[in-house]
């Protein structure tokens, strides 16, 4: 026999977060069938009545009262839950505890850390330029994590920085390494013992992460990774931060080589950048997505992709699957009518790299973030669709898939159920800032799909992934790989390797 208990707190207001949190806590207690804390408006009282949690006590509540209403399997459970609610409401457990003194302004931060020489700006974009300007005026280098900073502000800030021999990294700079210290979304390099003699200049995010990770696996080590933002190499900005970064790195005697990772620069800007790189006195490697070897000036080494850049920087080769042999085997399991690759990426640069790898293999691609000859995603019919799930249209009002991999589950389920998809490509990005267990949602989805469909290998697409992570990342590289492997995912050593394997499977299955 269920017991209904109500309590009314007159003129009592609790903020929404606390209300919902306490409601959920009580609902999860043993013996509780339904529990709710709501204001006692006529509309809510009717809802509570219909849900069978209201009694005569609650019926007398007014809109300015808080109603605690619960239905339990007995008086004992009900009283325990009510006692918990009252303890939380009276004990202040629901209010935010006063935190330790923290700087709330740039000035406050400088008073706490007067020796700081870098400010990391992470505010809504409309405020970022103002804060960055204040930081520059205070003599600080700036890393702007925020996006939605106008082109005009970006250019102005970068000019001011260069005039003061400072640098602005970003905007939308998600990743950086300074003296080996990872900033924002970045993989740990603390396990590496090799001398850090390589520096990279990149747009901002997963391209730099993938390069740092692969370099480490190949025995190298990254000293600096400077994220200049996705627009820096455009003619509109004129590579102000890239040029400043080259000057700064040229002065660092411990840096022996500089790797440029970027999309194609603007026509006017490219000449300036390559001229400065060519005269900086260091070995230079250029990994410019969409460039062929002939596009890179003499004296600068051309890297076709991130793996190639890491191999050139380390004078070593990454062990990779025997792609053709593995592709032959995997292609034999591809079901009738399955001939498409579906890429579901959390990293924008990794999505770009995959599109170019597939195009190099003669495959037509489409994407919401088109690269090379890719068509837009709306015209994906007959093409291999490679999606950047971290792009704006997927992340408005919801977390980025690197922070919350669950947001990739719907797309993964759609791909698993699509009878034309032969291969699903995924990136799993580890490191600081990323989700604590990014493979979990993927693994659970694959296991559930298999169980629900009682699938054979021919009934489902092959799933291929690369894990961008290191042995010292907080998520544990090996455990992430093992979980994916156990779920039937083929793991490749690099993103480009995964894309090449996928292309080879399609070609063998054709």
């Amino acid at each position: 026999m269920s017991t209904i208990v109500n309590e009314v707190r007159k003129g009592f207001y609790l903020d929404s977060v606390a209300l919902m949190r306490l409601s959920a806590e009580i609902a999860a207690m043993g013996g509780i069938e339904e529990a709710v804390l709501m204001i006692g408006t006529p509309s809510n009282l009717q809802i509570m009545q219909d849900a069978g949690v209201l009694n005569a006590t609650g019926e007398n509540a007014s809109p300015n009262d808080l109603v605690i209403a619960l239905r339990a399997d007995g008086k004992g459970s009900a009283n325990r839950a009510l006692a918990h609610a009252n303890k939380s409401l009276e004990g202040g457990a629901l209010t935010s505890a006063k935190s330790e003194a923290k700087a709330r302004t740039l000035r406050g931060g400088l008073s706490l850390h007067p020796d700081a020489n870098l400010a990391l700006i992470s505010t809504p974009g409309s405020y970022a330029a103002r804060e960055a300007r204040n930081a520059l005026n205070a003599g600080l280098n700036v890393m702007i994590f925020s996006d939605n900073v106008s082109l005009k502000d970006e250019t102005s800030l970068k000019k001011q920085a260069r005039a003061s021999d400072l640098i602005v990294m970003g905007p939308d700079c998600g990743t950086a390494y300074l003296n080996g210290t990872p900033l924002a979304f970045a993989n740990s390099l603390s396990h590496l013992s090799a001398p850090a003699t390589t520096a990279a200049i990149a747009a901002s995010g997963t391209g730099l992460q993938e390069f740092a990770v692969l370099l480490g696996r190949l025995g190298g080590n990254l000293k600096h990774g400077i994220g200049v933002g996705g627009r820096d190499l455009s003619d509109a900005v004129g590579a102000i931060s890239t040029l400043q970064a080259i000057d700064l790195l040229a002065k660092d005697d411990s840096v022996e080589q500089i790797v440029l990772i970027s999309k194609p620069p603007g026509a006017d800007t490219a000449a300036q950048v390559f001229e400065k790189l060519g005269s900086c006195g260091k070995k230079v490697i250029a990994c410019v997505f969409g460039y062929s070897e002939t596009d890179v000036p003499e004296g600068i080494q051309y890297a076709a992709n991130l793996r190639h850049a890491a191999e050139l920087a380390s004078n070593s080769s990454l062990p990779e699957h025997d792609i053709q042999s593995l592709a032959t085997t995997m292609a034999s399991s591809v079901g009738q009518g399955r001939n498409k690759i579906c890429g579901l990426y959390s990293g924008g640069t990794l999505c770009t790299e995959t599109q170019l790898a597939l195009q190099n293999a003669g495959l037509a691609t489409a994407s919401n973030a088109p690269a090379g000859t890719s068509d837009i995603a709306d015209n994906a019919a007959g093409k291999h669709c490679i999606l950047d799930l971290g792009a704006d249209e997927y992340t408005v009002g919801r977390p980025h898939p690197m922070m919350e991999p669950v947001v990739r589950v719907d797309a993964l389920n759609n791909a698993l159920n699509d009878q034309t998809v032969a291969v699903i490509l995924l990136d799993i990005v580890l490191g600081y800032g990323a989700h604590e267990n990014p493979s979990q949602a993927i693994v659970e989805t694959l296991v559930q799909h298999r169980a629900a469909n009682n699938s054979t290998s021919a009934d489902t697409p092959a799933v291929i992934a690369s894990v961008c992570g290191t042995d010292s990342d907080p998520q544990g590289l090996q455990s992430q790989r093992n979980a994916l492997t156990d779920a039937g995912v083929t793991i490749c050593s690099s993103n480009s390797g995964a894309a090449e394997l996928a292309a080879a499977i399609i070609q063998h299955a054709a």
Binding site: G11, F12, Y13, L14, D15, S16, V17, L19, M20, S23, A27, E34, V36, L37, M38, I39, T41, P42, S43, N44, I47, M48, D50, A51, G52, V53, P63, N64, G92, T95, S96, K98, R104, P124, G125, S126, N148, D392, E393, Y394, V396, G397, R398
Partner: protein, 270 residues
């Protein structure tokens, strides 16, 4: 204090009253002229809001204590003083709209719909399902009422007012978004008729905090997150609405989501 909304300023004119609610980042003052929300810089500029540089409010002040205001100084519970000398008077931008760009409105409505589609409301309990059903039903009636442009009284608002969990119920937030949008575009007589009905019925059907925000909305006044988005509907295509939609969506626990639904209900019908 850095900014003071129009309705908040009227409350301070009463020179004193009770502090009726205290949260970690804000508190509510009650005066003869309504309610004023005093908050730290995590609350937006708004008609009912007064933004300060303070950090926390719930460590020294408790609900039920008193406030006084004189000589540009607000004193809370005899323990905390806030100088209002440099507070900027904040008022929502109310552009005069002579020509509605339906393509732009459709574009923004589509983006709001996409965002809301990817973020369905939480469910799971019987009560949550009941709330969703009621608000969905009220939302459909609101859409029909706006599109029909009938001169009927919007009786359906009884179902929405005070409906939902949280400090400001979702039904109120939805109506707030709708009435401010109607006011913004000067959609008469719907705007005035809905505002009049809310003014008349809300006092008996929701709490005083939600009522304060609704009352301002009935005069076309809402916080900057909402008004910035509405201005993007009429300010030309150079403004990317996605960050504005995102900002509003993430306001409060669920207030932003329901406000967006109210805005969208109107945008898709005018």
């Amino acid at each position: 204090m850095t900014s003071l909304g129009e309705f908040a300023a009227q409350v301070l004119d009463a020179e004193g009253g009770d502090i009726i609610a205290v949260f970690s980042s804000s508190l509510y003052l009650q005066g003869n002229n309504g309610l004023c929300c005093i908050g730290n810089d995590t609350i937006p500029n708004g008609p009912v809001n007064a933004v300060t540089t303070l950090d926390h409010f719930n460590t020294k002040i408790s609900a039920g204590s008193h406030w006084h205001y004189s000589d540009q100084c607000l004193t809370l519970a005899d323990t905390l003083q806030i100088d209002t000398t440099h507070a900027a008077h904040w008022c929502a931008e109310t552009p005069s709209i002579t020509d509605i760009d339906h393509n732009r409105i459709n574009e923004i409505a589509t983006q709001i719909e996409r965002v809301l589609f990817t973020q369905p409301p939480l469910s799971g309990s019987t009560v949550a399902a009941e709330i969703n059903n009621k608000i969905n039903h009220g939302e459909k009636q609101l859409a029909n009422w706006v599109s029909s442009q009938e001169s009927t009284t919007p009786d359906f608002i009884d179902e929405l007012l005070g409906c939902g969990d949280g400090l400001t119920p979702g039904g109120d937030d939805l109506l707030l978004g709708a009435v401010v949008t109607l006011k913004h575009f000067g959609t008469e007589p719907a705007a005035s008729r809905l505002a009049d009905s809310i003014r008349q019925r809300a006092p008996a059907r929701t709490n005083v905090i939600s009522l304060a925000h609704l009352t301002a909305a009935c005069d076309g006044q809402a916080n900057e997150l909402l008004t910035d988005l509405l201005c993007a509907c009429t300010s030309g295509r150079e403004t990317n609405p996605l960050p504005l939609i995102s900002r509003l969506l993430n306001f409060g626990q669920s207030s932003g989501r329901y406000t967006l639904r109210g805005i969208n209900t109107v945008l898709t019908q005018i």
